[in-house]
Structures are given as C-alpha cells and as structure tokens.
Homo-oligomer: 435 residues x 2
Amino acid sequence: MTHQGSVAYIEDIARYEGQPVVIRGWLHNRRSSGKIHFLTLRDGSGFIQAVMSKAAVDEDTFRRADHLTQETSLIVSGTVRADSRAPGGFELDASTLEIVGTSVDYPITPKEHGVDYLMDRRHLWIRSERQHAILRVRAEVIAAVRRFFDDRGFILADTPIFTPAACEGTTTLFPVQYFDDTTAYLTQSGQLYNEADAMALGLVYCFGPTFRAEKSKTRRHLTEFWMVEPEVAFATLEDVITLAEDLVVSVVQRVLERRMPELKRLERDVSKLEQVQKPFPRISYDEAVTMLNAKGQPFEWGGDFGAPDETVLASSFDRPVAVHRYPSKIKAFYMEPDPERPDVALCVDVLAPEGYGEIIGGSQRIADYDLLVRRIKEHDLPPEAFEWYLDLRRYGSVPHGGFGMGIERVVTWICGLDHLREAIPYARMLYRIYP
Amino acid sequence: MTHQGSVAYIEDIARYEGQPVVIRGWLHNRRSSGKIHFLTLRDGSGFIQAVMSKAAVDEDTFRRADHLTQETSLIVSGTVRADSRAPGGFELDASTLEIVGTSVDYPITPKEHGVDYLMDRRHLWIRSERQHAILRVRAEVIAAVRRFFDDRGFILADTPIFTPAACEGTTTLFPVQYFDDTTAYLTQSGQLYNEADAMALGLVYCFGPTFRAEKSKTRRHLTEFWMVEPEVAFATLEDVITLAEDLVVSVVQRVLERRMPELKRLERDVSKLEQVQKPFPRISYDEAVTMLNAKGQPFEWGGDFGAPDETVLASSFDRPVAVHRYPSKIKAFYMEPDPERPDVALCVDVLAPEGYGEIIGGSQRIADYDLLVRRIKEHDLPPEAFEWYLDLRRYGSVPHGGFGMGIERVVTWICGLDHLREAIPYARMLYRIYP
C-alpha cells in the first residue's frame, strides 16, 4: 500500500494544514453512515477524527474500514483539514488505510467498568483518553519540577534506595534480603543523605521513588511513590517556605501553559489553578488551631491534623496555604526548634486547596551537634545508625533546610482526581503489585 | 559582625567583579605567610581563593584566620578581583570573616587515603574537588538526557520498582517481603512496562533506579544503578540506533558546553569527547567477530563479548561504535529476529570508546503474538507472568523498539573514571550499603 505524505504525530497536526500526512496509531472509536466512516485515531500524542468518504477511496479501502475493531493498529494517510468543531481543531480526510495488527474483543469498552477490573488491566487502561491525559500531565509536572531546580543552580544528587539501618523505626519499612545475612531497607526519604549532599554541593535535590509499608487503604496512600526533595545549605525556614511557594507556582504555571488540552479533557476547573499565585497565605499552627475551632471543627492544640482538618483549613483560601511551626513533639527528630519558643519546630506543611491536603512537608534542620544527639536519644533511635549523619554537625555545621513534595499528590490535585492510583502509571498498594 | 555586599555563589562570581560580596561556605584549604592568609573557600557551587591581608582587616579578624581548620564553615565578605592566574579567573580580597561551625580533626586530609576508608566516609568525601566535579557532571548528564527526550515529545512514564513476578529467573533479583505472604521483586528494567506505555503514549521513556543482585565485584557493577529507557511505537532497529546515536551526541555536547571546568579538574582529555559526533560506525556482530580474530583476539561466533573483547573492538574507532545483530541465542527472549536471517536478533549494543565498554543495549521487539509465546516457552519462562505483556500483541500490535542506557557507565566514561563507584553519590555494591 502506498501512503502519501509525511509521517506526522497528531500533536503536531496544525503544522500540516492542507497537506497530506501519514498517521500511525490505533483505532479509538468508529461510527459509520452508509457513505462515510468516522474513525477516531490515537497515536499516543493525541486523538483525531479521520473522515473516510466512500467517494474518496477505492472500494477495498472503504470495505476494510467496515468492521474495524477498537484498538486495531493502523496506518492512515489523508489530508489535514481545519475544522473548528473538532476537539483538536483539525480532521483528516482519509485516502488510504492499512491494518497493522488486529484487536479482537478488546476488554475495555466505552461502557463503565469497575476500578479493580480496570486496575487489573492498567497496561491497557492507560490507552483511554482520560488516563492518557493524566499521564501527560504527570510527565509535565515532573519536567517542570526538574527544570525549576536545574535552572536555579540546584544539583541533582540521587540518594540511595537501599539504606542500611532502620532510622525511624521498622514498622513502615520494606526489608530487602541483601547478600549473605545483610538486610537492607528501602528508602522512605532521601533527606538525611540530602543534608550531606547540601554540605558538599550547596543547593541539591533528589528525586526518586520512595517506599512506605503502611497498611492503609486510603485514597491518599501508595506503597511506592515519587518524591522530590530539595535541600539548601544556609537556608532558614523563611527560605524554605519561599522556595516551596516558587516551586508550586512554577509547576502549576507550566502545566497550564503546556497541558491545557489535557486539563480540559479531564474537565478540570482551571480557574482554580489559575489562582495559584504568590504570595501563599502563611499561618502558624496556633492560628490554624484557632481557625479550626472557630469553624466548628473542634481541635486540641498538640495533635496532628487529619484529612478533614486539612480540608477545613484549606477551604478558607483560594490557593495553597503554608502552615508553619507545629509542635515539636509530633514532628521528626531532626527539626530545628524555634529559638523564641522551643516547643514548636521551624517546620512547614503546604496544603493544596480544594481539599487535596498536604503536598509538601519541610523544615529547617537542627544544626547543633549536642541538641541533635539529645533528640536522637529522646526519640529512642539507635545512635550508631546516625554516626555518619552526626558528622555533618561535627565538621562545619551550618543552618540548612529543605522539604519533600509528593508527585502523585500534586498530580492528583492538578488533575482533580479522586484517588492517587490514577496519578502514576502502575500504582502499588496494599493489595496490588500487578500488572 | 557586619558583612558588606550581596550574598553570592562562587559559580556566579564573574558577575560581581569589583563589587563587595558575601560568600557562605567552608574552608577547603589554607596557607599563610606572616602578613597574608590565603583561604580556599568552597560553597558547593565552586572554589575560590580569598586573600586576607593583615593591613586590610582588623586585628581580631586576622587572628581568627590564624588557626582555621579544614571544613570549618564560615561567612566571608570581600571584593571580587579578576586574576588570570586563579583557576576560576577571580579571587576575593577578604574584609570580614565569621566562623559558623568548627571542624576538629576532619578525617579526609590532602594526604592519600585508601578507597575503603573514603567510601566509608562518602558523605564527607563528596566535598573534595574531584568528587564534587564528578557529581556535577552526573547531574548534567541526567539533565541532558531528560531534556533530549522531553524536547522530542517523549512522555516520561515511570515504571514500577515493585514487580510481581520473576520474569527472567530469580538469581539476580532482589526479593522484598511485601505484605502478608506476597513477595515482590525489585525491577531490573522498565522495558516490559515501557512497551505497554509506548502503545498508549507513542514515544515514552522511563528513568529510575534498577537493581541487580549480581555477586560480581568488578569495577563495572553496582547493585543499584540508574537507567534511562526510551521505547518507541512503530520504530525499527534502524530508528533505535539513530535515536541512541543522537542521544549520546547530545549528552556529550551538553556536558562539554556546561561542565568544562569540572572536566578540566578531572584532567579529562576532552579532545576525545569532542570527537563524539555523528555518524557512529555501525558494524554487525559478524563483522565484529572477524575484526577480533584479525586483531589477534581469538573469538568464536556465537559467544557474548567480554570486557576485553569490547575494549579491542572499541579501540578501532575514535567514537562510540554500534554493534548490531547478535545471535538470538545469547540475547533476551523478546528481541525480534532478523527476517532475512532468523538466527540473529534485530538488536544493538553501543560501546563507548577508550575501553569503557557497553553503555547502551537495545532492540526491536517481537510484535507477533505466536512467535512471542514460542520464545517464552523456549526460554522456560513462566507464561502466566507474561499474560499482560502478551495483551500488547493481542490488541493492535505494532513494530516497536527501544534501548536502555546505564547512567553510571556514561558518567564513568565522560569523566574518565576507573570505577563506577565514584559515578553515583552513594554506591551500593556486594559488600557496601553504608553510609
């Protein structure tokens, strides 16, 4: 079969208006009248409708399109025509059609399927318009994060996945049988290594998968998730909050600029995202507690916020809110106490609007050797596991700080999803490691 | 103490010529005459010499610099002065000095230390000029790889770390105790998932840590390493080789453009890197075997190349060489056979020059369902583990291909290192998961 035209991706189709092109992809959908086939094609970069009129093609070609099934792979050539009614602004007037691979009884049809059914077929489900859009937004979020840090002179320093000791208790760690009788644990955060790297490289970030063996089945937990963690030598809490704010604004902005078609396909209310501008409101934990009680959500000082509390807090603002200075008791051992009020930590959580909850958690870290040793003891942690970490306070300690941002939580928020499982290609959860 | 000037990073110092700046960092080295202290400072972005003359500062400040120890953290202000003899082109005429954190008996001195000693102190070793340079090159390599794919419309789709079944035998897999009685295995490659993702998104890549439980102690093995793997729907072997070539040229080019000071500090012969231009020589496995025998390296058709063979082959060329069409028997089950000669596979390895060996391995994948099922049986693999993978051939199969490139191998080559362990912040090896 001879196809006429340049091989093109649907995403770039506007460049080819009025020209012949060759599209290689899959049949997403089909409807036919007696004299015209309307074939919705997808090629991974987008979707386009090919219009095949009986008058425009030979008999064989038209008949070949009569019984095309969903997800048949094909090569179609035709002429690109602008059409303002088309979702992407263009249609293809088809002239040739070649079938590459058949598809019999494709298991995901336009009808409704249960989530477990779809998750069992995740390798196919991602071909759907909605999942396709989410994964493209995810890729854009990650590219935005990396460019943000690279452009500001941060050095990417990958922290290890295999870690030697159970730094924060073993209950939520996944053990790995390493060689001989050694047990390694999968990382929960690159932060301790990040601190060492910041002392060597000044401005650093790590960005990789992290693991939590939590037996929770909520819509906000995965056992394997991606996290970006910047760490900055000589940074104060103030610097950490500003960096978090700049990052979130930059990521949302880039997605709005480059993934608007995907957001529309997800029926996301983008006006909510357009409000994500500096400055973010900043409130102390104390103020947050007062706010909760004033809004009829009883809350006692000293506890950690649950999802309903975060929703109430976030609903008071049209953009993310930074909540700082939580009680030290409910926060990690390495957080610097506020010198003016040592019962609270120089830490911050950023809560996304619209009830999506915490997306960022960070702090200034303890710089003083003696205080850090005391905190390790108070938290009943094994001091020998922290010998190398204490070296950072032995040899030229400096104030420093950073944060972690969970990628799936950000994607869930930006896409407006109900559950984290759709924000990653292959979600790992309590009862799911397949496919 | 009052410091005069803007807070600046050493990397940006040229912008501040003649102006007062504040540098925050660590003492890397010090020498003194009676009337002048020469303080080499590092701040993570670079190194600079601060010159403190007794005449220019008050008595206290000068005395404070008398006994400064290596890795003391400090804040120094002064005026930036161009000096063509300085490695970075500038020096600082110091006017104030504040000590932030002391450093007593820093364990890594300018004298020689053994590698195990240094690896035990990796969290400090990375502060040295040489390790600092390597890590900055590594970050640049990774940024270059990601930009290359992002700019070409590839969608990043992260493949899972936890995988359900031992697809290629369990001997080199790390098992993880998942919940209850489930065992998960750490991924060795994202390829199978990549293939599913390419059918959904067209052009994809994954880029994450991968794991091999190999009990080898060579300088070319890590148990945890980072790999980038692109996969392209409708790609042939020819497309795969061209993509690999473009990627390698683009990465080397970007490092040359942006990390020349680091390459010089590593005493890398950059003329060798400048030769990395298109086109790469392409030779078949058959030709490679003939070449080895002609060069006095006896080699029998059918075997896989060892490191010495790769070195001999690579030494015939001034740039990377693509070796294609290896015997199917020694390659993975999913590789498409050459239709003109089914005993060889449509695959390619790219060997780096100067004896650095294989950096890329890739292939066109089997598109036909029946052939793939036959290969799975021939390789004694458990068919049930591949049910979802076979779906990709059931529903609209297309020709496709891709490759994997090991980041630490590329960094080792570009930096001219002896061992992979220096090409990653915290190397994991047979006997090392600390720090």
